[in-house]
């Protein structure tokens, strides 16, 4: 009972600290004379778009029925158009091309579009990075000096140079050479970068599987590919899942650097919104929150998978 009370107390302290930090940020912003304008933010996530409806025919508005505007054309035909918000009155005369009203629909704002692009480029990149990482990881533990040295050189160079520089090189040099789109060049640059780290994770995972597993498989007559595919990689994958998830989260965050080659992902979208709203604090906090939603979901997925896979070991 006493213990419980203490835990509660410390949890309360935790909440208090969070509130304190929030208050500090607010107070600081007052000091620099910042006027908060949170109300503008939601419309950059989702906004109500108006779509103008024009009459395709010439005639007279006869009335409104079931959300439709009924028009009698000059030839005497009766036609009806679906219009949510009519702007004309009964009896009005319309020409072809005249506005008779508008429809509204919810559209994703620039921030949500940016988030979508971030997710899209990350997913494509993660798949490529996994393939690169798996192949390079296997090359790294190969006895063949060609494969071994090639993978070592790749990993060392990638890990020894900044991602930002790599993105420029891939986009301006390789991208131009092979006529890559911005999107492909960006996803590829990210994949090449994260692939080097994934290769090391996979190498460590494979090397952590006891030698006896390979020996037993060899003794049963299995070949290298079968041993990797059915024995080693499934076991290694389970062991490296947390590290892989961490690397995927890094990749999602690193995708923000793609804004430098004008891919309108979340960060670039954020910059554009700031430029038009002059509300940098709100926008960047929102952008950060959106990144966090994605990375935290991935982190939860990882925990779920780890628990599910834990069953057999």
């Amino acid at each position: 009972m006493r213990r419980n009370r203490h835990t509660l107390l410390w949890n309360l302290a935790f909440v208090l600290v969070l509130v304190g930090i929030g208050f500090f940020i607010y107070k600081s912003s007052l000091k620099i004379n910042y006027s908060w304008n949170w109300r503008a933010v939601p419309s950059y996530l989702v906004y109500k778009a108006q779509q103008e409806i024009d009459s395709p025919v010439q005639g007279i508005v006869k009335g409104f029925k079931n959300g439709k505007v009924v028009i009698e054309t000059i030839k005497g035909n009766i036609v009806a158009f679906k219009v949510e918000h009519p702007t004309l009155k009964k009896g009005a005369v319309v020409d072809a091309g005249d506005e008779i009203g508008y429809n509204t629909s919810y559209k994703a704002g620039p921030l949500l579009m940016g988030l979508y692009m971030t997710i899209k480029v990350s997913v494509v990149s993660i798949i490529m990075a996994l393939v690169i990482g798996l192949i390079t990881g296997l090359m790294r533990i190969s006895d063949n000096p060609l494969f071994k040295n090639l993978s070592t050189v790749y990993i060392e160079i990638i890990r020894g140079t900044p991602l930002l520089v790599q993105i420029f090189i891939v986009y301006f040099f390789i991208g131009t050479l092979f006529n890559m789109t911005r999107f492909i060049a960006g996803a590829f640059a990210l994949a090449v970068f994260e692939g080097a780290y994934i290769a090391e994770i996979i190498r460590a995972g494979i090397q952590s599987i006891p030698r006896g597993q390979t020996e037993a498989s060899l003794a049963l007559g299995m070949n290298y590919f079968q041993i990797m595919r059915y024995i080693i990689i499934p076991q290694a994958f389970k062991r490296v899942l947390p590290a892989l998830a961490g690397q995927f989260i890094s990749l999602i965050k690193d995708s923000s650097l793609l804004s430098v080659i004008s891919i309108t992902e979340l960060t670039k979208a954020g910059r554009e919104v700031v430029a038009s709203t002059f509300s940098p604090f709100e926008v960047w906090f929102t952008v950060a929150a959106l990144y966090f939603v994605v990375t935290y979901s991935l982190s939860l997925l990882d925990r779920y998978l780890e628990r599910r896979l834990a069953g057999d070991e």
């Binding site: 020996e215 498989s217 003794a219 057999d312």
Partner: protein, 248 residues
Amino acid sequence: MSDNGDYIIVAENVNKTYPNGVKALRDVSLKVKKGEVVVIIGASGSGKTTFLRTINQLETVDAGKIIVEGVDVTDPKTNLTKIRADIGMVFQHFNVFPHLTVLENVMLAQILVRKRKKEEARQIAMEFLTKVGIADKKDEYPTNLSGGQKQRVAIARALAMHPKIMLFDEATSALDPEMVGGILDIMKQLAREGKTMVVVTHEMGFAREAADRIVYMDSGKIIEMGTPEEIFNNPKTDRLKQFLSQIL
């Protein structure tokens, strides 16, 4: 070749030196007949496990030749996966696949290597799991099994390939004492059924009872070879006498 016609394993002057300079095998020559049970005994580090592992080439040799079923396994051009499928092996540390169920452990290589249909593989797997007395655990993962049970799975896994030769590498050394008997009983039964077996073991009772021939190795060399009667009751060399006095 013709003079080796009766023999399923022929090892001639096998030599091996480990990278650290230790001479593991010196001129080891051994012929094993079809259906014969050969038990290799010797102290730790005598090279008996190394020799056993050269038979299916888990260990390469530096010099000499090993012919299994008429195929030279020491020839680099030999397709080892094919011959290995015919040589079952049971390890000291079981080496069951922890990510597969007992049944899957026994089915996998049948499907991948023997190209059997899933249903057929399942039937054969169940046949051998029943034989080693562990059919009721077929859906368990190895982590839920005792050492003795894991070793039974490993034996069933090897037998399900219908190997022509079975190698046992100290199959009972890592077991709790109360588990040893059960595994030895399975091995004795296989010996009675006429399986060709090469067994490395410290279990002298098994050697005496099941072996057709016993090979005594020391410092990488075969020192003496003979029937259990000759080896246990009438050892010729001092080294074997000393070894037996220590172990019995």
